[in-house]
């Protein structure tokens, strides 16, 4: 019985990640459109796009190797796996034994790595350019991400995400976040924007060759491969949003397996993710994309913030 529930939970979590990710992408686009006084495409447009792409016949350049066709599957699989490792609406996600927060970071990095390889594989100029830029961003973002996650892990005394979330969800009466958490949150937010190719770092809505990063790597893809890549990007965004809302605002997450708690957990989770997506949409509308040479400054700031988070963890006992 217990194991059936566990399997069921994993299935629900998987379904939620797969189903929700295009919606989040659509929501952000809608918010941006509204802020630009456009009506914008419908909230469910990304689903239609994906469905269309899956139906199309892929065209593959003859210069590519096996990496080109394998990469979309690897990227997709690693991202989904990362999503399954972390608590989404239940604080003790059934698969949490399979890895901790560091495994999550490196599953995502694996996806990025193959994305970069795929960008290089076709041998086009844009793909290589996009890959090299992505590599810069990824290398700079990773230390900041690791440090900020470490600061959180230190507070909880564990690197297991479920334990971290569970503990903070059970903590009562915490009105004020400790400074260390705030810094880590700010750092992680910047990293999120960078890793998921959002505006101050990359612009997901443009194919202008001078500025694009993520889109440049996908230029050679078409059909179901492109669909997988786009979908994986959406899931990655959702994974980051989930990480932020559940680690820094775990209120309402189900701490037991009671059906009512789980129902509340799902609803609260949806609301929080939607809220954060709106925030990202607003930020994307407020800021202009940074010049590529300024990106290291932004990520440097994220690194400093996460460093401060660590310092404050050790020094500010409140």
């Amino acid at each position: 019985m217990q194991s059936v529930i566990q399997v069921l939970l994993v299935a629900v979590q998987l379904g939620l990640l797969l189903a929700l990710s295009p919606f989040v992408v659509g929501l952000i686009r809608k918010v941006k459109a509204r802020l630009q006084c456009r009506r914008g495409a419908g909230l469910f447009q990304p689903y239609a796009d994906l469905a269309k792409l899956f139906r199309k016949q892929p065209v593959i350049s003859s210069t590519t190797s096996w990496i080109f066709t394998a990469a979309p599957y690897i990227v997709f699989a690693s991202t989904v796996a990362a999503g399954l490792l972390m608590p989404v609406f239940v604080s003790h996600t059934p698969l949490n034994f399979a890895g901790n927060i560091i495994a999550l970071v490196y599953l995502l990095a694996l996806g990025t790595f193959f994305l970069i390889l795929a960008g290089l594989d076709a041998g086009s100029a844009f793909g290589g350019m996009g890959s090299s830029r992505e590599a810069i961003v990824a290398t700079l973002a990773e230390p900041a991400m690791m440090l900020s996650i470490l600061a959180i892990a230190l507070t909880a005394g564990s690197t297991n995400l479920s334990t971290i979330v569970h503990q903070s969800a059970l903590m009562e009466g915490v009105v004020v976040a400790p400074p260390a958490h705030l810094m880590a949150l700010a750092a992680l937010f910047i990293v999120t924007l960078a890793e998921t190719g959002r505006v101050p770092v990359d612009n997901p809505a443009t194919h202008l060759e001078l500025t694009m990063i993520h889109e440049a790597m996908l230029l050679e893809y078409s059909g179901r491969y492109l669909a997988l890549m786009e979908w994986a990007a959406g899931i990655k965004l959702l994974v980051f949003l989930t990480l932020i809302v559940n680690v820094f605002a775990p209120w309402g997450i189900a701490t037991s397996l009671a059906p009512s708690a789980i129902a509340v957990g799902i609803l609260v989770y949806l609301a929080k993710v939607a809220g954060l997506a709106v925030v990202i949409g607003v930020i994307e509308s407020m800021f202009a994309k940074l010049r590529l040479f300024r990106v290291p400054e932004l990520l440097g700031a994220a690194f400093i913030l996460s460093l401060l988070a660590l310092v404050f963890f050790y020094t500010l006992k409140g």
């Binding site: 004020v176 400790p178 400074p179 705030l182 400054e297 020094t315 500010l316 409140g318």
Partner: protein, 221 residues
């Protein structure tokens, strides 16, 4: 009020950290007017911290200092500096002695240094505010660094004012504020210093066609 002290000290910590964040933002900021705005924001956080401490401890005279901070450092001084920027028609800092990522890293190191230096004296402080002393020293050091790293007269002044904010935070944190007469005197001095810098930038502009202090190299060995 044990619960309230714990919560209070968390709030005070939070406010001080926000002050420190403003410092980092100033270090990372190229636009002069944004630097001035960030300084005003920092001063607002400082006033909030002071008011919070006043509220939690019942020391009335800190309210007074907080009010003065709002008037002088949030309103008057930023206004003077903005006027200067407008009149001089400079908006950006192009040449810096230390580039921004390196500057941020140095400031991160300065924070750690500040925590180290104050470590032996922290336990003596009031429970409510003692952590802020380390942050205050960090702010002083970062302000000092800003003055070294930047070349524009305005940003150097902002660095000085940031140092002053740090000292004020230190005074509030360490001893619940200085004697009132001293605080008044310090505010007066800071205000006059702001006015003098305003006059100076004007004259430097006339004499050197620049407010870049790196052009001040007539006098040397």
């Amino acid at each position: 009020m044990p619960v309230s002290t714990h919560l209070g000290s968390q709030l005070v910590d939070l406010c001080s950290v926000l002050l420190l964040l403003c410092c980092f933002a100033i270090v990372a900021q190229r636009r002069l007017s944004a630097c001035v705005d960030l300084f005003a924001l920092q001063s607002a956080f400082l006033a909030a911290t002071a008011a919070l401490v006043a509220f939690l401890t019942g020391h009335r005279h800190i309210y007074f200092a907080a009010a003065l901070t709002v008037v002088i450092k949030v309103i008057v001084l930023p206004r003077i500096l903005r006027k200067v920027i407008e009149r001089l028609n400079v908006s950006r800092e192009l040449g810096m002695n230390v580039n921004i990522p390196a500057g941020l890293l140095i400031c991160g190191a300065l924070v750690i240094v500040a925590f180290f230096i104050t470590q032996p004296i922290i336990p003596l402080g009031y429970l409510l505010t003692r952590d802020s002393l380390a942050i205050a020293l960090a702010i002083i050091l970062i302000g000092f660094f800003t003055m070294i790293a930047r070349q524009k007269a305005i940003t150097q002044m902002v660095g000085f004012l940031v140092m002053e904010n740090g000292v004020f935070l230190g005074a509030t944190a360490a001893a619940y504020g200085m004697p009132l007469i001293v605080e008044l005197g310090v505010f007066f001095d800071v205000l006059v210093a702001g006015l003098i810098v305003g006059i100076y930038t004007h004259r430097l502009q006339d004499a050197f066609d620049s407010v870049d202090t790196s052009t001040l190299t007539v006098l040397k060995e």
